[in-house]
Subunit: 468 residues, 2 copies
């Protein structure tokens, strides 16, 4: 990026908004993706952005968007950098727009249970502000402390309590978005509408390619009256899928339902792992009467299916550790390439995908771990979260092994009839398989949206949309 371009942008939006300090440029080169961290360690790291813009208000975002459009400069949105699918990779010709300084609470409306945060508000700060009023978000990604509410929207995130409270599309009431045209789109503040397609859906999962989310209004909840735990040992994963299916299809919705295979049970709950058993943990929340009824019936269903109760201390342990985000560096420096990959499928297909993906990962040379757990349950099916770890003899093979593991899980999922992305998005790492997910007509729709909203392809180019 020419110095004159940076100077002109400074002139347009204000000198203090445009950062060119070394350590900021360095820190904003990519998101949390394992492969970006590996590339750094092995000397193939992403370039710095031309500059970093840190707007503090929507009008400044508009100015930056207009400047980039008028000057043909790529614009890469950045929340708090917790993305894991290489959705943010900077380059020296781009402006990286860092939303972290738009971090105010705009409105807390306790009567309608509606709360508006600027896009850069940290998840844990949002929850803490709500908790002071006795409220909760109900949306708790593991990245809670390192991700922003705008990032949740851009990636179509899903929280750990989703089975009862829903995913981001269920908790978002409204959005403010700066379009590539520089216009500011705000949704109508109504609980539900049939006034054409729901336009906010265009931006849920758009990964910065169709606009920049500047504010998010959530439909929040009162802190539940009661929270209680239960856990069950499962003879195998299929038994657990059946148990979860019966619970949710009978009309119960424990917010947390997580099922670990034997390998993950041993790793996460070593004190309580039992032979080759898998493990289901559940958190029940809501009015006390509902929680009591739910726990009673879940227990009956579990007993009917031949499952045995496990100590609730496993749930307590999970709850304590739930927001821990591992640092990959310690693995990478030891020559261990690791990652997690989430997918989803209907109940009839999930067992097959579990087995074929774990089997395929098991065929990778020097694989040290191939395991999975589920964490989000629906009447129609469930997600799976695969974890792989491999230790190639030659550390130069870590990157090829990484992509090979991803390929294996993507191919097993597609062959098994599942969906390739449950809640981390497409970014760059999944993009080769998006056509298998959406079909040519679906990809064509996405390309048409891009072409009409961002005809200059300036918004986060290279991400999500095939052929972009």
């Amino acid at each position: 990026m020419k110095q004159s371009t940076i100077d002109n942008l400074r002139q347009a939006v204000g000198a203090d908004i445009i950062i060119t300090e070394d350590h900021i440029l360095e820190e904003r080169r990519h998101d949390y993706s394992v492969i970006s961290q590996l590339d750094d360690l092995q000397g193939r790291g992403a370039a710095r952005p031309g500059c970093v813009a840190q707007p503090r208000k929507t009008a400044e975002v508009v100015t930056i968007v207009n400047f980039c459009r008028e000057n043909g400069v790529p614009l890469i949105p950045f929340g708090l950098g917790s993305g894991v699918v290489s959705g943010v990779i900077a380059n020296p010709e781009a402006v990286l727009i860092d939303m972290s300084q738009m971090n105010r609470i705009r409105k807390m409306d306790v009567h309608n249970l509606l709360v508006t945060f600027e896009a850069g508000v940290r998840g844990s700060d949002a929850e803490a502000a709500l908790n002071k009023q006795g409220l909760i978000l109900g949306h708790y990604p593991q990245s809670m402390a390192v991700s922003s509410v705008g990032g949740w929207v851009a990636t179509r995130a899903c929280g750990q309590f989703s089975t009862a409270y829903g995913s981001i599309e269920d908790v978002v009431f409204g959005l403010e978005v700066v379009l590539p045209s520089g216009e500011v789109f705000e949704t109508c503040p109504t609980p539900r509408a049939s006034s054409g397609p729901d336009l906010k859906e265009l931006f849920l999962g758009s990964e910065g390619t169709l606009g920049i989310v500047t504010a998010v209004t959530f439909s929040v909840r009162w802190k539940p009256e009661k929270q209680a735990y239960s856990a069950f040992y499962l003879a195998d994963m299929d038994r657990g899928f059946e148990l979860q299916r019966h619970i949710i299809q009978h009309g119960w919705e424990p917010p947390v339902m997580r099922q670990y295979d034997a390998s993950e049970t041993k790793r996460n709950f070593p004190d309580h792992a039992r032979g080759a058993d898998a493990l289901l943990i559940m958190i029940h929340e809501g009015p006390a009467g509902k929680v009591a009824a739910e726990m009673k019936e879940c227990l009956e269903i579990a007993i009917d299916l031949g499952c045995e109760e496990a100590p609730v201390s496993v749930v307590e342990k999970w709850f304590e550790d739930r927001n821990h985000v591992p640092t990959f560096e310690e693995f990478l420096t030891q020559g261990i390439i690791v990652d997690t990959i989430e997918i989803a499928a209907t109940w009839d297909k999930i067992g097959g995908i579990y087995r074929s993906a774990v089997t395929s990962l098991g065929e990778v040379e020097n694989i040290a771990n191939a395991s999975a757990h589920s964490s989000h349950c629906y009447r129609s099916g469930i997600n799976l979260y695969f974890t792989f770890a491999a230790i190639p003899g030659d550390s130069r093979q870590m990157s090829p092994v990484y992509y090979d593991c991803w390929r294996r899980v993507m191919e097993a999922t597609i062959a098994g009839g599942g969906g390739i992305a449950h809640h981390h998005g497409i970014g760059r790492v999944r993009r080769p398989w998006l056509t298998a997910e959406l079909g040519n007509p679906g990809v064509g729709l996405l390309q048409a949206l891009k072409k009409t909203l961002d005809p200059l392809q300036m918004m986060n180019p290279g991400v999500l949309i095939p052929g972009d």
Copy 2:
């Protein structure tokens, strides 16, 4: 439409698919809108379509779409004709594509609770087929017996049991849509995805302007174990809004929550109306333990707010009559112009909109009725369904009075900060106010979608999108 065009279309898709019989052309001139019926009675009725196409499979829809695009012929989708916002008005240059013959069940998957219907399946037939398996749709618009599943998608419908089971966007798992390009878009069969924006949302509420829905997959439910009723007298509408707000914000979700003002209570429940009281009726459904807990707590909340129990026979009466769709002809021939208008707003705004809309309707000359009830409840707010009836001295004034009443409710809603359409769609009657709902950027987004998906503007022109 030239005879040669009809002949060529017959040649392309099959002679038996293209209908030009008088009584079919006559019947398909418009939907169920009051104003269309009035126009008929007063001799201003819509023209017949050039021809009616009745495809029996998706491939035939593709052929028809391709023919219309290649020949510059407008194409008007028609489900079962229960629309009430003038979304279907035929003209002699257009092909009306009548989806009623695409009425098969494609798949009933009891394991995943997923059921796929072709778009023309009648709501009541869909529910009956499910009931045979012990299943329910959970989506019950009043028009159940006279509307199609594809029509529900196109209009963003909402059923009477929505408070627990959600609106159409919550119960639809997947879609098959023929795009204006002739491509067939099918959603990926996964319970949830973060693979870009949810593309099926483009068609939920598109009112035939962006494609033709050919099949709908629903995420269905087992018939609930228990159903129970409760009802409460309310000192006034505001007290009822407070009661509903407390119930839903405390984490309870009776599928049916309907609140009638004093006028509607007298009209609908004459045997049990009590002075100037409003009335709330509720149906509780689900596992027996949950229903019991819910009813106990709802009663406590109601007593705390000073509401008194009403006999559950009012709920029984509503349940019996719930799918009755009134015939407007008897009113119109007596010179009475009537209609209902649904809107929505957050809790803080709904009381003001109720009062200002009813007051404004009351100022219409010779108004005979201006009343409202609510029927869909959310943590953030609620809908209102206004009913007006006026008897202009001069029957030529019925049409102007109709539009005047609509204007009054739309303006009161916009001035009061609500949303102009809860679940009937925009059609033609609400189109003048869509910019107030979506803003210029929102309307621009809608126009951009239209331009990119249907550049020839052949799909249901004149509906939904301003400037179309």
